[in-house]
Amino acid sequence: MTVEHVTMAAPAEIASGRPVRAGLILFALLAGAAVIGALAIGPFTIAPGRVLTILWAALTGDAAPGVALRERIVVLDVRLPRAVVGALTGAGTAVAGAVMQGVFRNPLADPGLVGVAPGAALAAVAFVVFGAPLAMLLPAPLQALGLPLAAFAGGLGTTLVIARLAARDGRTQVATLLFAGLALGALASAGTGVMVFLASEQQTREFLFWTLGSLGGATWLKAALAAPFVLGLLVASVFLARGLDALALGEAEAFHAGVSVERLKRGAVIAVAAGVGASVAATGVVGFIGLVVPHLARLVVGPSHRVLLPASALLGVAVLLGADILARMIAAPAELPLGVVTALVGAPFFLWLLLRRRAFVG
């Protein structure tokens, strides 16, 4: 999904003097290495050669000679869907972060600002507490998806309400968007608090684990459900890139340069809400990717969204899958929550970036 991205990004060295092409190639290699690592590394030891045999056999439909059933299942039904969901989530979350930073014209913006995560969390905990009987109404194969579907609806719904509140006379005020996001986020968090109060100890723990994020529950079904929304965000980002570049010059300047600023903002918010909502639904809340990855990508390829967005997608895949390898290996045979790993690595790194930048600029 990220391969097309690379080819669509216009070469931009001429204007920027930055190592754009080299940066994109580096991030693509990192993403590729992370995918290979996600398939080859795990607590269940399988020789890399056998992993290849299994993948090749699955691709050609042949029987893989001398491969145990468990090895096949670990590669094809555990690691592969996990890598796919991880790649989708990583790319989607990172691109969403970069897009929101562009819309808010602020490198510290985050998809959480428009209420996706708090809304999804409220719906998820409400489902944990009250949803079990509802899930029984769903057809059997979808029962396990009750929580992800609730989270997706909650995240997207909250964002649409916020976008609606921020629109006045057909214009979306970014400041109002920010405040409406804060207010509704706080409201959703309060609702989450009420749910946690009503929940049993075990429900509370289940919810807590969900908020920490994990690829542990990744299945092909989840990958298939999340893919259209995340791919939609990635495709949309290609069309948003020029407008976001112009928006960096200012809202009025973007309009003068020919951007339909209102359409750009609305399109960006909806694409982000759908993509992040689907990611959060598939994996729970995985923090810091949306903040740190675009920042890091910007340091290498520069702030132009035409290259920043594909670079963020590739680096997001690499960072999320890399973090997941750590999450699976550190406490094996148990698994650390993914959000814990990304925050443990992401937060200090982010601080270092901020301090370093201050040392240079300030």
């Binding site: 001429i14 204007a15 920027s16 309009f255 340069a257 020919g258």
Partner: protein, 263 residues
């Protein structure tokens, strides 16, 4: 009044916060001509320019380009015909000067490095393409933005005249670069484009303008060639100061030494 081929405001009023900032202004920017808005602070010069650019909503009246109301044009269609130099532009991310120029260009070949380098040269910023925009001085930023909007108009249709809107383009520039900017504006008009500029300095206005429009308290007080408008009684009414206009060849100028408080 005149033919279709112009960028004009008809009886335009703009209100904000319950106050009329511009009232009943009519004005035509014509291909091949430089029109300059002058007037005291708060006269509504920038507001009128913004209203004409499409940035401000009108409370009444209309703005048309070749007879078409500009709000009926898409932002992209409008941008192909007019570009606006902002007064003070902050850029959100650490762009280089070259990237700032590229960022404002919606055309597919906007990243052409040779064009960017040439336009930076035209605003006396040769070799600045890879300098960080946020490390530049106010005047340098102003000229990067000028190069950006020149690039925007270069990439537009060649068959119809384009319009350059400049909001106090000389504000943070030294004397030499003030002249550079006005020379570029003049050149745009000489190539068949139209220019609308807000200027503070009456001397510069008189030097570059084909037509000077005097605004005070939101209304147009006078309009015409410099020789007709830069007159003692007009300026006294508009600025509230008594002046003595010196007419020395080749054009009129105002010496601050000759400025005194009115009344």
């Amino acid at each position: 009044m005149m033919g279709m081929n112009m960028y004009r405001a008809d009886n335009v009023s703009v209100a904000a916060g319950g106050r009329l900032l511009v009232e009943g202004a009519s004005l035509a920017v014509q291909p091949g001509r430089v029109t300059v808005l002058v007037g005291p602070n708060g006269a509504g010069k920038s507001t009128l320019l913004k209203a004409m650019s499409g940035e401000h909503r009108l409370s009444s009246g209309r703005v048309t380009l070749d007879g078409v109301v500009i709000t009926h044009l898409s932002p992209l269609a409008l941008a192909r015909r007019r570009a606006v130099l902002p007064q003070a532009a902050e850029v959100a991310f650490p762009f280089t000067a070259g990237e700032v120029i590229a960022a404002g260009l919606m055309a597919p070949d906007g990243r052409d490095g040779a064009r960017i380098a040439r336009l930076l040269g035209e605003v006396d910023l040769s070799g600045f393409a890879q300098r960080r925009y946020d490390s530049l001085s106010g005047g340098e930023r102003q000229r990067v933005q000028l190069a950006r909007i020149l690039a925007q108009l270069e990439l537009t249709r060649a068959d119809a005249p384009s319009y350059l809107f400049l909001d106090e383009p000389t504000a943070s520039l030294d004397l030499a670069h003030q002249l550079t900017v006005l020379r570029l504006a003049r050149a745009h008009a000489d190539k068949g484009g139209g220019v609308l500029a807000v200027l503070h300095d009456l001397n510069l206005a008189a030097m570059v303008a084909d037509e000077i429009v005097v605004l005070a308290q939101g209304r147009i007080r006078a309009a015409g060639p410099a020789g007709e408008v830069i007159r003692e009684e007009v300026l006294e009414a508009a600025f509230g100061v008594r002046v003595r206009v010196g007419i020395m060849p080749p054009g009129p100028f105002v010496l601050p030494q000759n400025v005194h408080w009115a009344g």
